[in-house]
């Protein structure tokens, strides 16, 4: 599936600004409690290396029917002990999902994460037969650097060869850079334009706008730092003064 492969606004000039780490176990294993435990441990390791964003981060702010009564419990904890919420959410995602995702803005952190993954966690998985795959999305130089530094070798590539068809109907390149941060296409161009206007009118900071567009993305792969930079650029083109700084 293409998911993170269509990101725009990233090239060798934006090196070391964005890397997405995805872990996945084939769906037939997802009900195995041993695999779930391994996924949760991985999720906590991913959180430890300080991602910018991660799967389930938005679940206190969205309606997630499949959580059932658990959603109320999470929101209760978030209200009274918000510092505990990230660990609970990421642990829940690791435990219950066959996929775990996180976006990083520092390739050194990703290299350290991969090196840690290669340690006891992977040894236990090999011993127990838990085939949890790891996928990196990024510009080739960043991916190569992470692989080289952590001693792993690229196994399979997914390359995008671009957009075709009715491309004349697409939004501007900067707007596309924001919209393609969600691999499911859940970021609306109308929202992007509305938020840009609010920034230009100094009613919103670029960071607040970035947080806003990150919310619909249930996978948690919007890079809010890069998004804020793009919003700043977009608003500067619209507004009379410089935008608020975050």
């Amino acid at each position: 599936m293409s998911h993170t492969s269509q990101r725009r606004g990233v090239d060798r000039h934006t090196a070391n600004r964005e890397l997405i780490v995805l872990a996945m176990v084939p769906s037939r294993y997802k009900r195995d409690w041993g695999v779930r435990g391994a996924m949760r441990e991985l999720a906590m390791t991913m959180l430890k290396h300080r991602p910018e964003n991660w799967l389930s981060r938005n679940f206190t702010r969205l309606k997630v029917p499949k959580l059932g009564p658990a959603q109320g419990v999470i929101e209760f904890i978030d209200k009274f002990r918000p510092q505990a919420t990230p660990e609970i959410l990421v642990s829940l995602a690791g435990l219950m999902s066959s996929v775990m995702t996180a976006v990083y803005t520092d390739r050194d952190a990703v290299a350290r994460l991969i090196a840690e993954i290669k340690g006891p966690w992977l040894s236990r998985n090999r011993e127990k037969g838990y085939p949890i795959s790891i996928v990196l999305s990024g510009i080739p130089d960043d991916v190569r650097a992470c692989c080289t530094r952590s001693g792993v070798r690229e196994h399979t590539y997914l390359h995008s060869i671009g957009f075709y068809g009715r491309v004349a109907g697409l939004p501007s390149e900067d707007e596309l850079s924001l919209m393609t941060m969600c691999g499911h296409g859940l970021i609306s161009v109308h929202r992007v334009r509305h938020l840009t206007g609010l920034i230009a009118d100094r009613h919103l900071t670029p960071r607040e706008a970035a947080e806003d567009i990150a919310r619909p993305c249930v996978c948690g792969i919007v890079n809010m730092t890069r998004a804020a930079d793009i919003f700043t650029r977009l608003a500067a083109g619209l507004g009379s003064g410089s935008p608020l700084t975050s």
């Binding site: 990233v10 084939p26 309606k63 059932g68 590539y157 390359h159 060869i161 075709y164 596309l176």
Partner: protein
């Protein structure tokens, strides 16, 4: 985030308890299965809608819709033809009156939600999303070897959405060149006539945020891909993107340029399975 190193034992204990409680109460939760629990006990329309009795016309929902299907004329309303049933408006909690309602979706309308709402799973794949696991588990499942190429055509993303008559155009074009949609891709279940690649007629006008169609071709036929893409361009009314899955060379390098040439278009961003699960002999789950 703040990681309190000094209280890790107590916090670990709390976390274990909470997670266990959540796991028990949420059942399948994030893992995804077909079907979706409904928050509204009495849906009254066959599509998502905004309850006019509750809507106060604040317009907060209007810009959220990726398809631009919500309009404000005194009160907000959803154009059911333009709506892809992605659920962004409802999930967002943006409505202060809780006026956004899920409809009672029946076949074929329900296909919009299945393809557009990432919180829904496809029965055919067992995972959330629009396609198979693709390269993500290739180090375990070996879909793509050094003799073949995975081809992924995604219609509708970004911004425009896609109707299934466009999806059918893609399936038929590949079929004419000798390639079938791979089994496990949700579109394969919608094909009525496998000889020509036509889809079930009742789904053709259904609109989705995006739809991913997957094929496999031998590496020796890599040169056929660009002409096929150009042919599809002439036959679809929306935008589409194309990706190729390639097993790395033995030194870890991508064989893309070797297969497609130095002039072939390639976005400066790639997705790479780094092979940590390679060789793990998984037990059946």
């Amino acid at each position: 985030m703040i990681l309190d190193e000094h209280a890790i034992t107590r916090r670990e204990a709390i976390r274990e308890a909470v997670v266990a409680m959540l796991a028990l109460s949420s059942g399948g939760a994030l893992a995804g299965t077909s079907g979706c629990s409904r928050a509204n006990p009495l849906p009254v329309k066959p599509h998502r809608f905004i309850d006019p009795e509750r809507c106060i016309g604040c317009g907060r929902c209007v810009t959220l819709c990726p398809m631009g299907a919500i309009a404000l004329h005194g009160k907000s309303s959803i154009d059911p033809d333009a709506c892809a049933e992605c659920g962004v408006c409802w999930r967002s909690r943006v409505c202060p009156q809780d006026a956004i309602r899920e409809g009672n979706l029946a076949w074929p309308r329900v296909i919009r939600e299945i393809f557009s709402n990432p919180m829904m799973g496809h029965a055919s794949t067992g995972v959330l999303g629009r396609g198979t696991a693709g390269i993500k588990t290739n180090d375990t499942e070996g879909r793509f070897g050094r003799e073949n190429i995975g081809v992924f055509v995604e219609l509708g993303r970004p911004a425009l959405g896609a109707r299934f008559h466009d999806v059918e155009a893609v399936v038929k074009t590949f079929k004419r060149h000798g390639y079938d949609v791979i089994s496990g891709n949700p579109v394969a279940e919608l094909i009525r006539d496998k000889r020509v690649g036509s889809l079930r007629p009742e789904v053709l006008n259904e609109k989705v945020l995006s739809c991913l169609v997957e094929f496999v071709m031998p590496r020796t036929e890599a040169g056929k891909l660009q002409p096929i893409v150009r042919e599809i361009e002439r036959n679809v009314q929306t935008v589409f993107n194309v990706s190729v899955a390639l097993r790395a060379d033995t030194d870890g390098r991508s064989p893309f340029r070797h297969l497609f040439g130095n002039d072939a278009r390639l976005l400066p961003w790639s997705k790479v399975n780094i092979g940590v699960a390679d060789g793990i002999s998984g037990k059946e789950g």
